[in-house]
């Protein structure tokens, strides 16, 4: 179909010529494609959506205009969602259409490239966590945590209760997702207190019991605190036959205690801190665990095999865990996942290599410490609030109302999060560190 000016009025991505269309209709034996729709009249839609088609250039301009309505602020925001500088190599190679426009590797012989990338991603997570099994992605840290709790519950069907213990300082998104996932399994959530930003291990000891199927702790916490007693928390969980689930992120894992060495049974968290950027909260969920829980792992796993030419080859494996085979008894309903984000994250990790990855993690400690110290010098400001080691971010107490301060800072080009009436949270990474001087100066002006 063409309009008077010769421009097609149909989909610009349907390539049929009029002659082709006619030949195809002939072959099928109908006069019009409309005759192929077997839809009863009573449910036919004769209306319009009211969306005019747009040409590519005008649409790109319109969308650029739309996004320009976002204020250009330098973000010192974190709370569990972080962005580091993403090298050009990641954008360039991840956008190769061979990767981007493929799908799940149901035919592994023709999809070795992506399978190898995912295998390498899994392998790097194994190196970072010390746990031998990592899947090739969950949606984000919140859903990964929820899946870990479901796994713990399946493993402990005989337990007298079905409680998951989580820290008092937990991101509201993670808590909310956890609540929704646990509801259907008749599980419950208990919260344990924190002291000065870290786990109150004595209080946790009083709470963990034989009704507990999993104890969850994070390092760094959502407030940026590096947890110092992970091994004790792990012991408490294990003494009560509960799983110990540790939440972290890839950069922190490069520096902080290896999860396997502190007794973690499952590691979850956010991997999108490498390779993705802020992306309005889009994520990449880490899921790693012990070998003995392999059959209970949610999501896709890539394994090694051989092909008929006796060459090493990769394939999706252990698919009987998954929904397309096990249906209502699957370990999870996940199908489409975050594979392409995992590819970007793997590329970013590989680009950094071990030296620069550890350096990046060390900077997350020292930059946060330095920035907190500079803010602490200002009158009416205490930073960090907690007398702890921090990773990337920290809480600031202000004498003046925090919401007013964030408002004023926004007016000076900086985005900082107001946690409560007198608490702010500030996050620094290599992506915004060059603006730290400006932030300190702006702070001085607005308090």
């Amino acid at each position: 179909m063409t309009a008077g000016n010769g421009r097609r009025v149909g989909s610009p991505y349907a390539p049929h010529t009029d002659a082709d269309e006619e030949a195809m209709l002939d072959a099928v034996g109908v006069d019009s494609a409309e005759d192929l729709f077997d839809i009863p009249d009573e449910v036919r839609f004769d209306g319009e959506f009211g969306v005019d088609s747009a040409d590519e250039q005008e649409l790109r301009n319109a969308m650029a205009d739309l996004f320009s309505r976002n204020e250009e602020l330098t973000e010192f925001l974190g709370r569990g969602h972080h962005a580091h500088y993403v090298p050009a190599l990641v954008d360039d190679l991840s956008r190769r259409s061979e990767f981007l426009t493929s799908y799940t590797q149901y035919q592994p012989e023709i999809a070795q490239g992506f399978l190898q990338v995912l295998f390498e991603y899994q392998s790097m997570l194994v190196e970072l966590t010390g746990l031998p099994v990592a899947n090739c992605s969950m949606y984000d840290a919140a859903t990964a945590l929820a899946e870990a709790a479901l796994l713990a519950n399946r493993l402990r069907r005989g337990a007298s209760g079905h409680r998951v213990l989580v820290p008092e300082h937990l991101h509201e998104g993670r808590l909310g997702v956890l609540e929704n996932y646990l509801d259907g399994a008749a599980m419950e959530i208990g919260e344990y207190p924190m002291t000065d930003g870290a786990v109150d291990v004595d209080a946790l000891a009083d709470l963990v019991d034989d009704e507990t199927v999993m104890v969850y702790a994070e390092t760094p916490t959502v407030r940026g605190v590096i947890e110092e007693r992970l091994a004790d928390i792990g012991d408490l969980a294990h003494d009560n036959d509960a799983l110990f689930c540790l939440g972290s992120d890839l950069v922190a894992l490069a520096l902080l205690e290896e999860p396997a060495s502190v007794g973690a049974d499952v590691v979850v968290g956010e991997a999108g801190a490498l390779g993705l950027g802020t992306a309005y909260g889009m994520g990449l969920g880490i899921f790693a665990t012990r070998e003995e829980y392999l059959r209970q792992v949610p999501g896709r796993l890539v394994g090694v095999s051989e092909d008929s030419a006796d060459m090493r080859a990769f394939t999706l494996t252990l698919q009987t865990r998954e929904q397309h085979i096990r249906k209502e008894r699957a370990t999870s309903n996940i199908c489409t996942n975050q594979a392409w984000v995992a590819l970007r994250t793997a590329m970013h990790m590989a680009w950094l290599g071990p030296d620069r990855l550890v350096d990046l993690a060390e900077r997350a400690v020292t930059d946060a410490r330095d920035l907190a110290a500079r803010l602490d010098e200002l009158s009416g400001v205490k930073a960090p609030l907690y007398d702890r080691h921090h990773f990337r971010e920290f809480v600031v107490r202000t004498d003046q109302p925090a919401p007013a301060i964030t408002n004023d800072l926004a007016g000076r080009g900086f985005a900082v999060h107001a946690l409560t009436d007198h608490h702010l949270q500030v996050c620094i990474t290599d992506a915004n560190a060059d603006a730290a001087d400006g932030l300190v100066a702006a702070f001085e002006e607005v308090i």
Binding site: V9, Y13, V51, E98, E109, N333
Partner: protein, 473 residues
């Protein structure tokens, strides 16, 4: 068409692993940064230069098939062309903001989300849409949680979800995750919902019926109005699995058919790239009565601009933040580019392509009339083997051995993006593979990077990281 996929190999391996190119162990000595007992001892990862990495990943990309290389008619997956410009739009630096930004400072982001909520509501005939679910299965789970919250708000405790046996596996898993018992519904002789069986299955325990329409055989459920009435009369809700929406754009809307809840697979219908397995997005639309239960936050337009809000009886969160933002941007761009006429044309061509392809293949298609996809049967021949042989003809084969209603099924969805010549190539691949000798089928493929891969040894002896390879050698 002749085809040879790239194959980089050495000895008994294809492209070496990163870890085989380099493995560097650094000692973590963070003196002055953190106390020793808070840090790990060492870290082992590959340390490679950027040129080495560029070559590694480019080679791997060449050992991967994709929509831009050729037809990819995986049934139920809607592997259509992903317009290049949508990638550029999503990469706009102004589009990448942190989720903790205040509403006032991200009017562009919220404006796009609001616009997409509206587009999708119109396209599905729904009243309100959440964009938060990060995939189709997450959308199903969200929709079932909404149904549960609705029933509970009325003091109505229901325990069952009815699902046709031919439905996507995610339906069953999502219903079970939400705590429901699954009641499986057999199909009738013509491949559609068996009305008698449905009548017997529906009861006061029925929380919802999950249905795909057209169903997984590509058939429109002609009795949809009666189905809706039956379920509604029993107090249940109707859930629409949007995986096959590409068949209906501009011709029928789930909302008009009586569905109360639906999810959209934007990576299928709205052309966002599948990314080797994701990310997708699974927005959920509902009718007015259910809008108060949608996840938080939603976006609305006020006199002062766009703002986020929590629906009155919200189920809460299904993703840590706002879902898969980059995917949503691309979906918005696709819908805005095509408009009404383009969307309607996409469905017309998708349905024409499926019907034309079916008319050109020698395999029987037992059920019809079908729309955007069809389930052919390879009869006496093993569908998985036929599929492997099709690879040698330079096309991706269909989904095999599913749905189980058709024995040796080859579920085929060419989408609207193939032209006649390409469909003819695809038909040739079907017919040639189908007619090939047993030996040719069993030894296929040979033109792909890897030859037939042994699935059994992969599962019997799982080796899931490069560390596990070391154990063997």
């Amino acid at each position: 068409m002749n085809f040879d996929q790239a194959r980089f190999s050495r000895d008994d391996e294809y492209e070496p692993l990163l870890s085989e190119k380099d493995s560097t162990t650094v000692e973590v000595d963070s003196e002055g940064v953190l106390p020793d007992d808070l840090t790990r001892d060492e870290l082992t990862l590959p340390a490679l230069s950027e040129p080495q990495l560029a070559r590694h990943y480019t080679r791997l990309s060449q050992m991967n098939y994709s929509v831009e290389l050729g037809p990819y008619p995986l049934g139920s997956c809607t592997m259509k062309y992903n317009p290049s410009f949508t990638e550029d739009v999503a990469a706009d630096p102004n589009a990448g903001v942190h989720p903790d930004r205040s509403d006032r400072t991200i009017q562009g982001t919220l404006g796009l989300l609001h616009g997409l909520q509206e587009y999708l509501a119109d396209i599905g005939g729904m009243d309100a849409v959440t964009l938060q679910p990060p995939a189709g299965a997450a959308g199903e789970f969200t929709g079932i949680l909404v149904a549960k919250a609705y029933h509970e708000s009325r003091g109505d405790d229901r325990s069952e979800i009815i699902i046709p046996s031919s439905a996507h596996g995610t339906n069953f898993a999502s219903a079970a995750m939400a705590g429901y018992d699954v009641v499986e519904l057999p199909s009738d002789d013509d491949g559609r919902v068996d009305m008698e069986a449905l009548d017997a299955a529906v009861s006061e325990e029925t929380a919802a019926l999950m249905l795909t329409n057209p169903n997984t055989l590509g058939l429109f459920e002609r009795d949809i109005v009666d189905i809706a009435e039956l379920v509604h009369d029993a107090g249940g809700l109707l859930y629409y699995d949007g995986a096959n929406l590409n068949a209906l754009l501009g011709r029928a809307r789930p909302g008009d058919m009586g569905f109360d809840i639906m999810h959209y697979n934007v990576h299928k219908t709205f052309a966002t790239p599948h990314g080797g397995g994701g990310p997708g997005a699974g927005p959920v639309g509902v009718v007015d009565e259910l809008a108060e239960f949608l996840p938080s936050p939603m976006v609305r337009e006020t006199a002062a601009g766009y703002e986020q809000y929590e629906p009155e009886s919200s189920i809460g969160k299904v993703h840590g933040f706002a879902g898969n933002w980059l995917v949503l941007v691309k979906a918005y761009a696709y819908i805005a580019r095509l408009g009404d006429a383009g969307l309607a044309d996409a469905s017309a061509k998708a349905v024409l392509n499926a019907n034309y392809l079916a008319s050109q293949i020698d395999l029987e298609v037992p059920y019809g009339p079908f729309h955007h996809e069809f389930a052919a049967t390879s009869g006496e021949r093993d569908a998985a083997d036929v599929a492997k042989r099709m690879l040698d003809y330079g096309v991706h084969p269909p989904t095999t051995k599913w749905p189980e209603l058709v024995s040796q099924a080859m579920l085929t969805e060419p989408t609207e993006v193939e032209d006649k010549a390409s469909l003819d190539d695809l038909a040739h691949a079907f017919n040639a593979a189908y007619a090939d000798s047993d030996e040719a089928l069993e030894t296929a493929p040979s033109k792909t990077s890897a030859r037939r891969i042994d699935q059994v040894s992969a599962a019997r002896n799982p080796r899931l990281s490069w560390r596990a390879l070391g154990d063997d050698e």
